[in-house]
Symmetry: C2
């Protein structure tokens, strides 16, 4: 269910930014998951990517990195969280706690995370089912399964 | 339901460390919520506190701070997350995602967060109902309601 905006936000363009972040992470030797936060008018608030490997910090998933880089915001209700991969339970909790109403995910084939629960909570989750996102991440998982398992699959 | 350890972990002693962290945060001008991560044998893995105000970073709740300071761990299943206040949805998601099986909270009167859902997921949540924790936080909320509302109540 899209909000009644004058124009539908260009979610595919937003995802491009998150994909750029994922590729930047990959180039750094990290897990290729990227995220970005936008206003409803399409303007960028912040962008980030998973930095577990780079900073040796398991809390820095892509969504959390973008969130941190957004600084303190008065409200998140009108902001859009965009991520190359369905957010894990941690980052789904971030979305819920801080009141984001819209989440755009590049894909949820590789990992579903908490998107069903987000939908149950009335949050608008838009899944763009991007083949590029699937290929980028599955390629990494094939190459570095131990890092992936450590990162996101630990609770499975 | 406590695990079948030889001896029951000394949860009250663990909470003391989290309270010390909360008081350290308060002394820095921050929100007095502290956390610590312990092994089942009572040895300390890491400790941290809310640093929203100090670092201008809304992601650094007490639990996330302690988690970051623990570095990359192979598994969290045998670790105990101890926090002065019931974890919010974000930090409850952290607990769930990374597979902590035990959470000790100082209190859940001021804020319930996600502890009911954690219990539904089979996670052992031990609520010590500490008057000291309640007084420390409610005192802060009375003095600085705007910071509290920004921090944790945004999604309510």
């Amino acid at each position: 269910m899209l909000k009644a905006e004058h124009t539908t936000p260009d979610y595919a363009a937003m995802l491009r930014v998150a994909i750029e972040e994922a590729r930047a992470g990959l180039a750094e030797g990290g897990i290729p998951i990227g995220a970005a936060i936008f206003r409803a008018d399409g303007s960028l608030v912040s962008r980030g990517h998973n930095r577990r490997v780079q900073q040796d910090d398991p809390s820095i998933h892509g969504e959390t990195d973008a969130f941190r880089r957004a600084g303190r915001q008065k409200s998140y209700r009108d902001l859009i969280m965009v991520t190359t991969l369905a957010p894990c339970f941690y980052c789904s909790g971030l979305v819920r706690q801080f009141g984001f109403q819209t989440v755009v995910v590049g894909e949820s084939r590789t990992f579903q995370g908490g998107i069903e629960e987000l939908r149950e909570q009335g949050i608008n989750v838009i899944d763009l089912d991007s083949a590029e996102c699937v290929e980028m991440l599955t390629g990494y998982i094939s190459a570095r399964p131990e890092v992936w398992n450590e990162d996101i699959d630990v609770a499975e």
